[in-house]
Symmetry: C2
């Protein structure tokens, strides 16, 4: 419960339709894709940086936790108000401030949906490369908070590669501007990328200058089906050795293929136990030769067939259904997004099979193999404590395997609360201490998304 004096003053900062305290209203702001529930005591909807600043400053005065939130599509708990207090929803900061095709820039507020940015860019022949699966409903503020990526990151990189500058309100209540409006700039420290991926723990981003990329003229799709996992893993390495970097290189294991078969019975060849979905893009003249090179690189003893896809859109729709379909076959999935070097994928995928067998925990694995970014899903039933315990041990060993293979614990979902306990596996004590000190510089009163990231 909020202190009465605080609630009254908070209410005075914003019109009543942008200030919720009724638990019923607040409940929609209690959860994200982790399915954990932390109801906030209030939700505010500022629409300007000055309003954000006023809310932050009031929270400093009262020591009230303040959790910034985009559209709540995250999977790591980054937007959950774990310690109660106020949720600061950016969803009404919806202005696309500038569309400037000459300079290849869009300036947008954080509540703008990723797809809206794409729509605004497309009419001028551009796109904004970050493409999380949630692009249709996640906001660029959330994309910035997690440095979101997606299938096209293998060629285009992630959010941090496509932002020129930010406006933000720090946890200390100061309005700052980072970066610049131009594609080059080295004046002062790079606070832009420090804020990107900081999951709302340092500052509330109120405006972003997004760098646009020309739309490719053409795209081509290839599917390759394999009799066994090892052959498929080897083919990933072969494809990534090509000078023709694919614009997407998605891997699906046998569990994933079975899920797709359950929904689309005739889509996949019998006998396929692993699959690659590959996209290339570029000039009209380039795409056919790149497709041919990819198909050639896919060939090995375990290949059933590699071919250009007649209906790439149908395949991508099938790929996108995987995450929701997992909910059909198990009460709960423990969904990770670990990354290993591409060369280590064969060993890693083999290790996953071994650990699944050792701990008797079913897993389904797919993901952005061109980056070595695999979504590992452990399928469990929370009603079975023994299974849950085995899954926890299994997960811990998966993380150790990732680190031993010189990988990272998260490629795109972030740490939030879900991976907080494991961050010490990846980041040494001295570096972690430095990060915590940076947190204190930006947020000296620890009001901004307190408790996240660090154990």
């Amino acid at each position: 419960m909020l202190e009465a004096g605080f609630a009254a003053r908070l209410g005075s900062l914003l019109p009543s339709d942008r200030f919720f305290t009724d638990p019923v209203d607040c409940y929609a702001y209690a959860y994200d894709n982790t399915r954990k529930i932390f109801p906030p005591d209030a939700v505010v909807f500022p629409v300007t940086a000055l309003e954000v600043q006023a809310v932050v400053r009031l929270c400093i005065e009262y020591g009230t936790p303040l959790t910034p939130r985009g559209r709540g599509t995250g999977t790591s708990g980054g937007s959950l108000p774990e310690q109660g207090g106020v949720v600061l929803s950016l969803e009404r900061m919806l202005r696309i401030v500038t569309v400037d095709p000459t300079n290849r820039v869009i300036v947008a507020e954080p509540g703008v949906i990723n797809q809206s940015v794409q729509d605004a860019a497309k009419s001028h022949g551009f796109f904004w490369p970050p493409d999380p699966s949630s692009a249709g409903y996640s906001s660029i503020g959330g994309n910035l908070a997690t440095s979101a990526g997606g299938p096209h990151a293998v060629k285009y990189g992630t959010t941090r590669d496509h932002v020129l500058g930010l406006k933000a309100v720090t946890g200390g209540g100061e309005i700052i501007r980072t970066g610049c409006y131009t594609t080059k700039g080295v004046v002062g420290y790079d606070l832009t990328r420090l804020l990107i991926g900081s999951e709302g723990t340092l500052a509330v981003i109120t405006e972003a200058t997004l760098k646009l990329t020309p739309l490719p003229q053409a795209r081509g799709g290839i599917t390759a089906h394999y009799r066994d996992l090892a052959s498929c893993a080897a083919a990933i390495v072969q494809v990534m050795a090509l000078p023709q970097t694919p614009s997407a290189l998605e891997f699906l294991d046998s569990g994933s293929l079975d899920l797709i078969r359950s929904r689309y019975p005739d889509m996949l060849p019998a006998g396929a136990r692993a699959m690659l979905m590959i996209e290339v893009d570029g000039a009209e003249s380039y795409v056919p030769e790149a497709c041919a090179a990819v198909i050639f690189a896919c060939a090995n003893e375990g290949l059933i067939q590699a071919e250009e896809t007649a209906d790439a859109a149908a395949l991508w729709r099938a790929r996108k259904t995987l995450s929701p379909l997992l909910r059909d076959i198990a009460p709960k999935k423990i969904n990770e997004d670990v990354v290993v070097p591409v060369s280590a994928l064969p060993e890693f995928l083999d290790g996953l099979a071994r650990l699944s067998s050792k701990y008797e925990v079913a897993n389904v694995n797919f993901g952005h193999a061109g980056n070595g970014n695999i979504h590992v899903n452990l399928l469990v039933d929370p009603a079975l404590p023994d299974e849950m315990s085995r899954a926890a041990t299994c997960l811990n060993e998966i993380f150790d395997l990732v680190i031993n293979l010189n990988g990272t614990l998260s490629g795109e979902h972030g740490v939030g609360s879900e991976k907080r306990a494991y961050i010490g596996k990846e980041i040494d004590a001295a570096t972690l201490t430095l990060m915590k000190q940076i947190k204190r510089v930006f947020d000296p009163n620890n009001i901004l998304n307190p408790g996240k990231l660090f154990p």
Copy 2:
């Protein structure tokens, strides 16, 4: 002069051939491309992170300024030991630790010359995109310190876009590791990019994991000559509106062309008062169509001729001579590397001409126009105090013009000591305060390159 006790202990950390105190030996470490001279009291040449750490810790104990240095090719004073003390030369940390083409990675120590990285990458079909003019003799440590770029940044970005992780010793004497070995990773704050471009004020980078890019199959070059500046500036905007992003788009003004004519009398058409040098790269099949698109976009009323270049290498050699040639026509050049949005280039170049005339200070301008990054050179004689004073006022107005056009004061050279006094024009007080606090977190005793960046 160093305190005797300090000098003795410093000497005990390293063999005698890696520890200079003789002023004659130290003198080569007193200057960079600013032509300012600050002789250090000692120069050390550590070859491991532990040795760097030991030096840093000793400097903390004695409060001795420590200035990291690559190859001293910088133009902003970033590597000058302004406050005396010790220069920490990284030039003997020369190991390429890992060449890993499968994962598109090279791990290298900071003393490795940029060209050596290119050579190691090339045999595997890759390159490392940062391409400062100094690539043949500048080190990757220096490239990292300034987030160096060059002509190809218009397509490929700058140093910060091509680094996966770092190992470094902070000003506090801690060894840290940032980033990861994979192309995706969002665990913890992005300290990698915070260190890149921080000009040795936060930490000494001792190892970098560099992300490689496949070499393009083919390249094409175009030159376009214009009767007047305004037509040329308009053409830059037209070319950058193409979906075919050039891999280089260099602008040369009439002063630059006259310099080239003085050395290569027959290279340029008579009547040309401005020129573009454009490069495209990509697949064999793509390059001719991209060249055609660029030539079409170059056309306007002021165009004399746009054509594919028979001998692109000769042209690039001519372009690279510009900076040294400027030394022939004036005792001193004040060399800037400001950036404005591409759409503002016509107004900016016009403004430069106006200010040159107003203050009677000759200027020669060329640079990476595709990024809006113009090297403005004010040609002056230090023996003429009145001219120097007019130049200082002119420069100040140029910077104001850049900021008013939504540009930045440095695209690739950095702030160092040269632009320190102007940083407040671009970065507001709250953001500057935050940067200074970050400096204190990394370097609580202010021993690392003290006095740089901030006024």
